[in-house]
């Protein structure tokens, strides 16, 4: 195999130039590794390589000089010059590959590494505004967006986070910036129509207090909230309307029934009249006189019952109650300055019924006094029986407890007093009747 010195001059020149290039590359790699303060081990291989390549380079120059210019040759130069040229090329290849790989790794590491600059760059690219400051308001890290927003809002460059927050909190709106809420998270509509919300939180890190101020673009959220509120208001309205409608439905059905009975009266009365007319004038009786008579009686009875029903229904229920009580030998006596139900007719009816049931069942009473007064927009009703059995306490069954909850729902209260007959005291606010 031919040695280095046996190669032609061009090959020798190329090998030496490449050795110079490899030396420079390895030197650079060594400097980079050394300055990035990494473990000294990672500098060891490049340092050794630099040394090796450097020595070989020097020795080969020496050999070359001897060969070309006939200068005296060192021992190492002679030895290296007589080595096969392939070995030199191999060394070159190894250094070249190591150098390339080393640079490639350094680049990747530099990219991955989090440095002050990379944090700042990342924060500046964040769409929201962010500012970290210490307890006194001295900013430690503020991103570009925050600077920009604070300057636009307060009109000056903010050098202190505390000052900036004060400025934002007191800002009522200026230069097309509109304040949207008064709470401690100032929200503004910006000149470009976007909505920004500012808030801050306290952080404790290694026993030191930091303050984080954040500005968030909540345009979409705000628009949606506004829309939602509008929709809710509309829905509320609809529900109210529906509720009213539902309340009226029972009424309407009743009215329909009344109308139907009126139509029936009209029809049957008409039929009777026609039949009577036939009988009297034409003397062509379809029916016998008794049948006709019966028909008339039916119509009259029917009319009577219908007429009765057209009275206020509440009168009916109360009358029924009184009748039922009388059938059991108990009289209801109404007393007091008023007979008005103050808009609480169903509750009062239930209360009287409850008092009545208990008076008859437990106290053996034959009289129930209902005393009602209205004072200062409040209805006071007292139901007292004349029972002869001594009742010292009453445990509330389902009837009384239902009554109590209904009264309390209507904004009143109920009290039971025992001793000398049971008394049921009810207080209810007078309801405005529309």
């Amino acid at each position: 195999m031919i040695s280095f010195l046996q190669c032609n001059p061009i090959t020798r020149a190329i090998i030496i130039s490449l050795l110079i290039a490899a030396f420079t590359g390895l030197l650079f790699l060594l400097i980079i590794r050394w300055t990035s303060k990494r473990r000294p081990c990672s500098c060891l291989i490049p340092a050794l390589l630099v040394l090796t390549v450097g020595i070989i380079w020097g020795a080969l120059i020496d050999a070359q000089n001897n060969f070309d210019l006939g200068l005296s040759l060192s021992f190492i130069g002679e030895w290296l010059g007589n080595l096969p040229w392939v070995l030199h090329v191999l060394l070159l290849l190894v250094s070249g590959i190591y150098c390339g790989f080393g640079f490639w790794r350094e680049r990747i590491i530099a990219k991955r590494e989090i440095t002050r600059d990379s944090i700042r760059e990342a924060l500046d690219n964040l769409p929201r505004g962010l500012c970290f400051s210490d307890g006194k308001g001295i900013p430690l890290l503020t991103n570009r967006r925050m600077y920009q927003l604070a300057e636009e809002a307060t009109g000056r460059l903010c050098r202190n986070a505390e000052e900036m927050w004060q400025g934002l909190s007191e800002l009522e709106g200026q230069k097309g910036i509109e304040r949207l809420n008064k709470e401690n998270t100032p929200t503004f509509r910006w000149t470009d129509g976007n909505v920004w919300q500012f808030y801050r939180t306290e952080l404790t890190l290694q026993n030191r207090r930091y303050i984080q101020t954040t500005a968030t673009d909540i345009t979409r959220l705000y628009t949606l909230t506004e829309e939602l509120e509008k929709n809710n208001a509309a829905l509320d309205k609809q529900y109210k309307r529906l509720k009213n409608l539902l309340n009226e439905i029972v009424q309407i059905t009743q009215e329909e029934a009344i109308l139907a009975s009126k139509v029936k009266i009209h029809k049957e009365l008409g039929e009777c009249l026609l039949a009577a007319r036939r009988y009297l004038i034409l003397k062509q009786p379809e029916k016998g006189i008794f049948e006709l008579f019966q028909q008339w009686q039916e119509v009259i009875r029917f009319m009577e019952s219908t007429l009765k029903e057209e009275k206020k229904t509440s009168d009916y229920a109360m009358r029924e109650l009184i009748e039922a009580a009388e059938a059991l030998g108990c009289t209801i006596i109404f007393e007091g300055s008023t007979q008005e139900d103050a808009g609480h007719y169903p509750i009062l009816k239930n209360a009287i019924r409850e008092a009545m049931t208990n008076a008859i069942r437990h106290a053996g009473a034959n009289e129930l006094t209902v005393h009602m007064d209205i004072e200062d927009n409040t209805l006071y009703a007292v139901m007292k029986d004349n029972g002869n059995r001594l009742i010292t306490s009453i445990s509330e069954g389902s009837g009384l407890s239902t009554l109590r909850s209904r009264i309390e729902q209507a904004g009143g209260n109920m009290e039971i007093r025992c001793g000398g007959g049971v008394e049921l005291h009810i207080k209810l606010p007078v309801k405005e009747v529309s």
Binding site: L235, D236, Q238, Y239, R241, L242, K243, L245, L246, N247, I249, V250, T253, A257, A260, S261, S305, T306, E309, T313, S314, Y316, A317, E320, L321, A324, A325, A327, L328, Y345, P346, K349, N350, R353, M356, T357, I360, R361, S398, G399, T402
Partner: protein, 219 residues
């Protein structure tokens, strides 16, 4: 002679029942009243054997609740619930209240006297199912139990959000149920549908407390 108390606030229905009872030799009418709340008082003198009880009576008094109270204190009195409303919960509620029989005024397959006879003989006569009515494009049998729960709260005038709270389910579930109901019935808004439901007496607003309140009372 069986003594009958009739409780109904509709004149026509009352007359129908009165005539039916009068026709029979086995029954006599003790009294006819319009307010279910007063039925208990009428039973206290011990002269009632059978009650024909309407569900929705004068002033919105609930016949089934009154029946439950009577059954509790006077278990020997037989009670037949009569109604013309196809409200879905009535049969179940009547059974829970311990009523003996149930008769639909308009669509009852058997006539009233037969039901009365069978009830007095100790039988419990209940229709197999609620009469099917049509709401929009759907039949009343097409709704699921949960849909009916949601519907009940909406008919009672609660908002969708309140409904979710009352039933203890998610707001989204309420919306899903409602959507499914609307798809079945073909109505475009809940309000129209709810108005139809209450107009057809399938559910009566405010007549029953919501299920959770029911549980509260039981406790």
């Amino acid at each position: 002679m069986t003594r009958v108390l009739i409780v109904d606030d509709q004149r026509t229905a009352r007359e129908v029942m009165e005539i039916a009872v009068k026709q029979s030799k086995k029954y006599s009418i003790v009294k006819t009243i319009m307010d279910a709340g007063n039925a208990y008082l009428c039973c206290m003198n011990g002269r009632v054997d059978l009650i024909l009880m309407d569900v929705y009576t004068l002033d919105g008094e609930n016949g089934i609740e009154a029946a439950a109270k009577i059954k509790r204190d006077f278990p020997h009195i037989k009670i037949i619930i009569v109604t013309s409303m196809p409200e879905e919960s009535f049969i179940r509620k009547a059974q829970e209240a311990g009523c003996d029989s149930f008769w639909y005024k308009d669509v009852g397959e058997e006539d009233l006297l037969t039901v009365m006879d069978r009830t007095m003989a100790g039988e419990s006569v209940y229709p197999d199912d609620v009469p099917v009515i049509k709401i929009g494009l759907a039949k009343s049998t097409e709704f699921t139990k949960r849909e009916l729960d949601v519907l009940r709260e909406l008919v009672n005038g609660h908002s969708q959000k309140d409904t979710a709270d009352i039933l203890g389910i998610k707001y989204d579930s309420v919306r899903t149920h409602l959507k499914s109901i609307l798809i079945k019935t073909g109505y475009d808004t809940p309000s129209r549908f709810i108005a139809e439901v209450s107009h057809k007496n399938y559910m009566i607003p405010g007549f029953y407390k919501s299920s959770r309140e029911d549980e509260d009372t039981k406790e």
